[in-house]
């Protein structure tokens, strides 16, 4: 068959299957990410069907997918929200970082993947999926709940932590010497700070430069500048993803809002390709050997997120059920864990099992997270019922 025809047929078939998977995910009310990963595993190297025709397109698309994921993450919060979030919830954020980075990093060291592997796996287990968490909060009608700002501010902190972590990760993965690495990290942290300050003071200029009433022009402006910034950042060894993320932060106000709306379908498309490609590059046969570790890590880091949420909500004066809800909502890991693992795999300096472990881990957490958030409430109230009856008794007596 002609190469072009083959590519189109393969791509079409894959997208169609993703559509079916997405519909299935929607029907049972779960995040589509694990299904996309499974789809990739099914098609990919060592999977049932081999797809070589779409390789080139898929590779570039998945890079764009990462850029768009990070750009949208940056767009989600304004610089002011990031700064107040940092000021208000840094204690919870630091606890979150320590408790959830260590299990992944520790396991990586134990499995002999060295410091680089520890750096990667720590990131994978640290970052909650803000996408899944936001969807869970909306779907369960918990936006007006009192613990919701607590959850959101932890997500905001993780957001900022990503801005610092990604350059460090890129430097580590590039295998540069300690001094050069320090320099790169220093430069990128300086850039992060400058961007935050610029976004706070002059965010409207950036927004104005990109904004257009014509949605076509606006889309091209956005996409063009995102790829440009990402490319330049990548050339400076700062990681394309960080560049896009910073651009997202710099865009603010109404422009950020309309940018989100306009980019959403594109992000969904390219991110889906990214998840599939990640699955494609993972050999399904490599998953069963690491499944036990993935399960252990899942249990451990579900617990640590629970502790984080519980503590943060308690500090905010939230009652017992709300504390459990906070922890459970943070459990889900998803898109950004895969982004981190994807960066590591692309650099080729980490063990192949790492991709398998990250895949298995995210598969578990993206499914368990929303379920935990949903069922923690009836569970807690069931456990509390005997207690409450006693309490009501005493109030009635008084």
């Amino acid at each position: 068959m002609e190469p072009l025809a083959l590519t189109l047929i393969e791509l079409g078939a894959v997208l169609f299957c993703l559509g079916l998977l997405g519909r299935l995910a929607g029907r049972i009310g779960m995040s589509p990410i694990p299904l996309y990963l499974l789809g990739g595993l099914f098609f990919g190297s060592g999977g049932l069907v081999k797809l070589d025709g779409m390789h080139e397109f898929a590779h570039l698309s998945s890079e764009i997918g990462v850029i768009l994921l990070l750009l949208m993450l940056g767009l989600e919060y304004t610089a002011a929200e990031l700064v107040t979030g940092l000021r208000r919830s840094w204690q919870a954020g630091v606890l979150d970082l320590v408790l959830n980075f260590l299990p992944g990093a520790g396991l990586a060291v134990m499995l002999g993947w060295g410091w680089v592997g520890a750096m990667v796996m720590g990131g994978v287990t640290y970052i909650s999926s803000s996408g899944i968490a936001a969807k869970v909060i909306t779907d369960l009608g918990r936006i007006g709940n009192r613990e919701t700002p607590v959850i959101l501010s932890i997500l905001v902190f993780e957001d900022l932590a990503m801005a610092a972590y990604l350059p460090v990760l890129t430097a580590t993965l590039a295998g540069v010497s300690f001094l050069v690495g320090l320099q790169t990290v220093g430069i990128s942290l300086a850039i992060v700070t400058v961007v935050l300050v610029v976004a706070l003071r002059h965010g409207h200029h950036v927004s104005k430069a990109l904004h257009s009433e014509n949605s076509e022009v606006f889309l091209l402006n956005l996409l063009g500048s995102a790829l440009l910034v990402a490319g330049v950042a990548s050339a400076m060894q700062v990681s394309a993803a960080v560049g896009a993320f910073m651009l997202g932060i710099a865009i603010s106000g109404a422009t950020a809002h309309s940018a989100t709306q306009i980019l959403e379908p594109l992000r969904d498309f390219f991110a889906a390709i990214f998840f599939v490609v990640f699955g494609l590059n993972t050999d399904p046969a490599s998953i069963p050997p690491v499944l036990g570790w993935a399960l252990l890590l899942a249990v451990l880091t579900a617990g640590t997120k629970m502790v984080t949420g519980f503590w943060a909500a308690k500090r905010a004066g939230i009652g017992l059920p709300g504390r459990f809800r906070t922890g459970a909502t943070l459990i889900a890991r998803g898109e950004f864990s895969i982004v981190i693992a994807g960066l590591a795999v692309a650099s080729g300096v980490v063990a192949q099992e790492l991709a398998a472990l990250a895949t298995a881990y995210v598969l578990i957490m993206a499914v368990v997270g929303p379920l935990a958030a949903r069922f923690v409430e009836p569970l807690v109230s069931m456990l509390r019922r005997p207690l409450k009856r006693q309490a009501v008794g005493t109030i009635g007596g008084a």
Binding site: E76, Y77, E81, L82, T84, G85, A134, G141, R142, I143, G144, N145, R146, E147, T148, P149, L152, S153, L155, V156, H257, I318, G319, P321, G322, R325, E377, K388
Partner: protein, 160 residues
């Protein structure tokens, strides 16, 4: 009244307050401009029992309904300066003898010296109702008078 305002990063803003009965009531304003009415559950003020999306029209209507109630409160505020004068509200139950009867039949002013200054019905206010206004179950009568007069008016409305 102490209204709490809380930022919801990435979503918008929540404004709410605690009612005397221990429930949290308020609104969530989204960045996109939608508004949602939130009411907490009775046993856990942190959770929402309901979050109801409202259009601009619906929000305005709800505002009116609550505004009617405000009228009665403002009236009693105005009478506070006059010693001995009190404002009270009476609701017409389905078992009231004057249900579906003209208000004049109760002869409230003659018998108790109390004036009915307004009737609130389905969120609307009927100011200075005449004696031929038909009372319906669910009507809220705003009455002004002395403490004793109001007590006897309450008795008249309940028992005839």
């Amino acid at each position: 009244m102490n209204v709490d305002e809380t930022d919801l990063p990435g979503l918008g803003r929540r404004k709410d307050f605690m009612t005397g009965s221990g429930r949290r009531v308020g609104v969530v304003e989204y960045r996109e401009g939608q508004i949602e009415l939130i009411v907490s559950t009775w046993d856990d003020p942190d959770t929402c029992q309901a979050s109801i999306p409202l259009t601009a029209d619906e929000a305005a209507t709800l505002c009116n309904l609550l505004g009617g109630q405000r009228l009665a409160m403002q009236l009693s505020e105005a009478h506070r300066e006059v010693p001995g004068i009190v404002t009270r509200q009476f609701s017409i139950g389905a078992d009231s003898p004057f249900d579906n009867q003209p208000m004049g039949k109760a002869c409230i002013r003659t018998r108790s010296g109390v004036s009915i200054v307004a009737i609130m019905r389905e969120g609307e206010v009927l100011p200075s109702p005449g004696p031929d206004v038909i009372l319906h179950p669910g009507d809220l009568l705003v009455a002004v008078g002395t403490q004793e007069g109001l007590d006897s008016a309450a008795g008249i409305l309940r028992h005839g």
